[in-house]
Each structure stands twice: as structure tokens, then as C-alpha cells.
């Protein structure tokens, strides 16, 4: 019943996304692409932070690594699918290494370690001019061609991004539904108990970072191809915080949180543009209000509504959940 309704809703959403570009302006299609790219990055962070409970402020660094890797490789004549795979694998491995500090430190200490990593990547991108072009960045990144079709048109490229978006969503769903997903959640809720029940928490911590980072790398690769220009400023700590905001606003630990969060963070400035100089202020205010009224994000509100319905049916049952 419920699962079936969910499935139909998802199917409908996918169908809408599939036909949408034909009725939109080029710019709107670009914005949609940007939403999907950032959704992918946020999905990865949602696995690391929302499900496995490992704080990371470095998602933009992985987007940067992925973007530069794919850009430089494709411009050197390497086929783009290979470049994308290379970016994903590279970020997976670097994410694995970044996971090691998480075995020792947690919470705000871990936030600082990952923050420092983001700064480090930024400096490498800016200073290693021979490779990255320094502050000038990389210009003229080619769009991929699929089965001989160029995607220089916005709509063509939209479907490439859409494909990645769908496949990566499905993969993440598969991971979270498997025993791995339960182990990630156990790691977040009570690592010591999980350890005593046979969960190799060291391995799961590293994997949470590695998989989340690989998603960041792929998102970065797509972002480079979408904008066709990258520079170190596209991957600063500010961008990491933006991805974090998407996860938190949508609802960390909810599968659909990142999609909603990214939608809001990407679209809101567009909608508020008419207010001209005030839009950033309005935007900041809205985020503050949301976070105060619902710290668990937008999908947390949905949960709260469900709970109040349940309470009406059975008032005594769920005092604990109410108290949260």
C-alpha cells in the first residue's frame, strides 16, 4: 500500500524529469542540471554524515578533485567514461584515507580535520599551476559525446546528468537497503555496541567516507562538463558548507533529503532574485527559521506530521518519539 504509493510517486517524478527539458528554456535546463549535480554530491555526504554519522566538511574538495581529474583527462584525449571512472576511483581512495582521522576523532574535531583537507585541496588547485592552471582554472572543458551524439546542446547534456542521477540514486538505495546500510546506521547510533555485535566499525567508517567521496567526485566531474570552466574558487569551503546545508535542510539521514535540500538551495536564490539586493538576506533568514523550527530538516517535518496522526490514533504509545 504505502510502499506502492511511494513507488508510483517516484515513477511519476522520474517521468516528469524525463520530459521536462522540452518545455523549458536553456537556462532553466541548466539550473535543473545543476540541481541534479549537487544532489549527487549531497547524496554522498548524506551517506557519510546522515547515515553513518561521520562529519565531513570536505565534499567540495572531492568535487574539485573529480572535476579537475575529468577535465584534464578528457582534454588530454582520454574518453570521458574512463575519466569519470578514474575520478570516482580516485575520490574513493582519497576518501578512504581521509576516513582514517575519523577512527581517532569525532564530531567537531573531525569537522576541523576535514575542513583542513578542503583548504589543502584548494591550495593545491591554486598553486600547482603547471597542472591546474592556478587561479585561471581550466577553460573549455568538452561536453561528453554519447554513442556519437554530441551533448553540446543543453538538453542533450541534461540526459547525461539525468542518467547519472538515476543510476547513482539507485546504487545508493541498494547500499542503504542492504545490511551495509544497517551497519552504517548502527555506526552512527552506537559504534561501541555495533563493534560488540561483530560490525567492523573501522571498515564501515572508512567505507562511509570512501563511498560518499566517490559521489562527490562524480558530481564534480559532471559539474566541470556542465559549466565547461572550473577554477579553485568553485571548490572552496563555502561550497562544502553549501552541500552540507543541502543535506541538513532536506533532512540528514533521510533518503530523499538531499534532493529536496539541493532543490531548495539551488532554486531559492533563483526565486528570490526579484528582490534584488535582499535575496541573500532573505535566504539566510529562511534557513535560520527552518533550522530553529525543524532541526531535522524538511523531511523531519513530514515525520512529525506522521507522528501526530499516529498519536491521535493511539495517544499513549509514543511518548519517547514525541519527546525527541
Amino acid at each position: 500500500m504505502n510502499a506502492r504509493a511511494n513507488f508510483l510517486a517516484i515513477l511519476a517524478a522520474v517521468a516528469v524529469l524525463a520530459v521536462l527539458p522540452s518545455s523549458l528554456s536553456t537556462y532553466s535546463v541548466y539550473v535543473l542540471c545543476s540541481w541534479m549535480v549537487f544532489s549527487i554530491a549531497a547524496m554522498g555526504l548524506n551517506l557519510t554524515l546522515g547515515f553513518a554519522g561521520q562529519v565531513s566538511l570536505a565534499q567540495a574538495a572531492f568535487m574539485g578533485i573529480g572535476a579537475y581529474t575529468t577535465a584534464l583527462m578528457t582534454m588530454a584525449g582520454i574518453p570521458w567514461p574512463l575519466a569519470m571512472i578514474a575520478a570516482a576511483v580516485e575520490c574513493f581512495l582519497i576518501g578512504l584515507v581521509l576516513g582514517y582521522p575519523a577512527l581517532r576523532v569525532q564530531h567537531h574535531f573531525l569537522a576541523f580535520v576535514t575542513l583542513a583537507f578542503n583548504a589543502l585541496v584548494f591550495l593545491v588547485l591554486r598553486n600547482e599551476e603547471w597542472l591546474t592552471g592556478g587561479t585561471y582554472g581550466v577553460v573549455g572543458i568538452p561536453r561528453p559525446s554519447v554513442l556519437g551524439f554530441s551533448t553540446n546542446q543543453q538538453t542533450g547534456f541534461y540526459y547525461v546528468v539525468f542518467g547519472f542521477f538515476l543510476v547513482l540514486s539507485a546504487v545508493l538505495y541498494g547500499i542503504l537497503r542492504s545490511p551495509w546500510g544497517r551497519a552504517f546506521q548502527a555506526l552512527r547510533e552506537n559504534p561501541i555496541r555495533a563493534n560488540s555485535l561483530g560490525v567492523d566499525i573501522r571498515r564501515m567508517t572508512l567505507l562511509a567516507f570512501a563511498i560518499g567521496s566517490a559521489y562527490g567526485g562524480i558530481a564534480g566531474g559532471l559539474l566541470g562538463q556542465l559549466v565547461q570552466f572550473i577554477d579553485p574558487n568553485s571548490f572552496t569551503l563555502t561550497i562544502s558548507l553549501k552541500v552540507l546545508l543541502m543535506v541538513i535542510v532536506g533532512g540528514a539521514g533521510y533518503f530523499f533529503g538531499p534532493y529536496l535540500g539541493a532543490l531548495l538551495v539551488i532554486l531559492m536564490p533563483e526565486f528570490l532574485r526579484f528582490t534584488e539586493g535582499y535575496y541573500l538576506m532573505l535566504y539566510a533568514l529562511l534557513v535560520i527559521v527552518l533550522m530553529i523550527s525543524c532541526p531535522k530538516g524538511l523531511l523531519g517535518i513530514v515525520d512529525r506530521i506522521k507522528l501526530s496522526i499516529k498519536l491521535r490514533q493511539n495517544p499513549s504509545a509514543t511518548a519517547w518519539e514525541q519527546g525527541k
Binding site: 551497519a183 548502527a186 547510533e189 560488540s196 555485535l197
Partner: protein, 247 residues
């Protein structure tokens, strides 16, 4: 036959404090061993050293004749040693069913088969039987955090049993549990011991519970074993009475 657990001269020092001081004992297959002693006598610390939760300062621990030095808690669990902690340890945001499945899943298949196999690792039926065994059926799909304290204690114990361990170390399973629930817990432990041949070491302050459950008792005071034997003998041991009264 090897003892299930053999602890040889284990010590644990916190700075100058000898929390566990040269403790040696064995646990035989199928027995329910009680571990008692005043507050702060080192019982929980001893458990943590045995299970790799804390590095011991000295000594040796063998499970089924195998030296387990350097093994992590998860490795020991996979070898068939289950445990509960003194403080409640459940996964509050997961349902009772998910808590129990988690407790068994790492024992099924390999890392990769768990990624590509069934979401419940084929454990739903077994988990439901375990839930029934601990009389939590009505709470199956409730979040663990919403259960009463006593129910969470039962869930905690159920998790320790889910993987079919040969040895379970229980740290104050009866603490804070009401009388009805307590009788129920004791009956469950006895059933596990008789039906499945599980071996237990139980830390407990509730004397009546320990005396009626255990076949043998070890008494710890200031990190050292001061008495060992059948419940009746230990109860009347002057040294034990002294340790409790003076403690």
C-alpha cells in the same frame, strides 16, 4: 576439553589504580558463572579487558584455547563471544526487529555477499523467533528507544544471543529491571543454557538473582579474586561478607 574461556593473570592499571589485579579463572562449557563484588571492584573492567574493549596491562585471555590478544571486540564477537554492557546499549532509532537483525547479520556471508544479498541477510524469521523468545513480539516494529527500560534490557540481551554465541558475558542484566521482568529474564537465560548449551558469565548485584541462576560464583574485591565456589559456600564465606560490609 578446553575451557570456553580462560583468563590468565589479567591486570588492568589506570595510572596507579590496579582496577584488575592478576586475575585468573576458567569458564567451563555449559556453566553459568556469576561474577560479583562491591562497586568499583573491577568487574566491568575485567569484562572489557577480556573482550578487547580495553587493552589489558598484562596477562593472557584464551577463547576455546585460542589466544585472543590484539583481537578487536568485533573479531571476538565473530568468534562466538556475545556481550551486554552495564549501561543500556541499543540502537534507539532502529526498530526492535532491525536491532536484532543487525546483531546477526555480520555472522552471515561475507562483506560482499552482504552488500548484494538480501536486505535482512535472510534473518527475519530467526529474528522474530528471538523476539518471541524474549516476549517482545508486540514491540517488533517499534523503535527501540520507545521501549520501557526493562524491555530495552531484554532487547539488549536478545541481541547478545542472536548470533548463537558459545559464550555470553552479561554485565548487570537485571539492573533496574522490575521483579516480573526479572523472573522472566532469569527463565530466558536458563532456557538458553539448557536448550542451546550456551555458557554465561553474569555480573550482578542482585544476590537472589545470582544465587538462583549461577552454578558457580567468583567474588572480586579491589581487582582481586577473594573467593570462588558454589553459591551457598560463597554466601557464607567470611572474607566475602567482610568485603561487602567493609566495602
Amino acid at each position: 576439553m578446553n575451557p570456553v574461556l580462560s583468563v590468565k593473570g589479567v591486570s588492568k592499571h589506570f595510572g596507579g589504580l590496579k582496577a584488575v589485579d592478576d586475575v585468573t579463572f576458567e569458564v567451563r562449557r555449559g556453566e553459568i558463572l556469576g561474577l560479583i563484588g562491591p562497586n568499583g571492584s573491577g568487574k566491568s573492567t575485567l569484562f572489557n579487558c577480556i573482550l578487547g574493549q580495553l587493552p589489558a596491562s598484562g596477562g593472557k585471555v584464551e577463547v576455546d584455547g585460542r589466544d585472543v590478544a590484539g583481537l578487536r571486540p568485533c573479531d571476538l564477537n565473530l568468534l562466538g563471544v556475545g556481550r551486554t554492557f552495564q549501561m543500556l546499549q541499543v540502537f534507539p532509532e532502529m526498530t526492535v526487529l532491525e536491532n536484532i537483525i543487525l546483531a546477526g547479520q555480520e555472522h552471515k556471508g561475507t562483506m560482499f555477499s552482504r552488500l548484494f544479498g538480501k536486505p535482512d541477510a535472510g534473518l527475519t524469521d530467526e529474528a522474530k523467533r528471538m523476539i518471541e523468545f524474549f516476549r517482545l513480539t508486540h514491540q517488533t516494529n517499534e523503535k527501540a528507544g520507545s521501549l520501557s527500560y526493562g524491555q530495552q534490557k531484554l532487547l539488549d540481551a536478545a541481541m547478545a544471543f542472536m548470533a548463537g554465541p558459545k559464550l555470553v558475558l552479561l554485565d548487570e542484566p537485571a539492573g533496574g529491571v522490575n521483579l516480573t521482568m526479572l523472573a522472566h529474564l532469569k527463565e530466558r537465560l536458563k532456557a538458553f543454557n539448557e536448550e542451546r548449551g550456551a555458557t554465561f558469565v553474569v555480573i550482578e548485584h542482585n544476590m537472589e538473582f545470582v544465587m538462583s541462576l549461577c552454578t558457580r560464583i567468583i567474588v572480586l574485591a579491589n581487582g582481586r579474586i577473594i573467593a570462588e565456589g558454589e553459591p551457598e559456600a560463597v554466601r557464607n564465606d567470611p572474607q566475602v561478607i567482610e568485603a561487602y560490609l567493609g566495602g
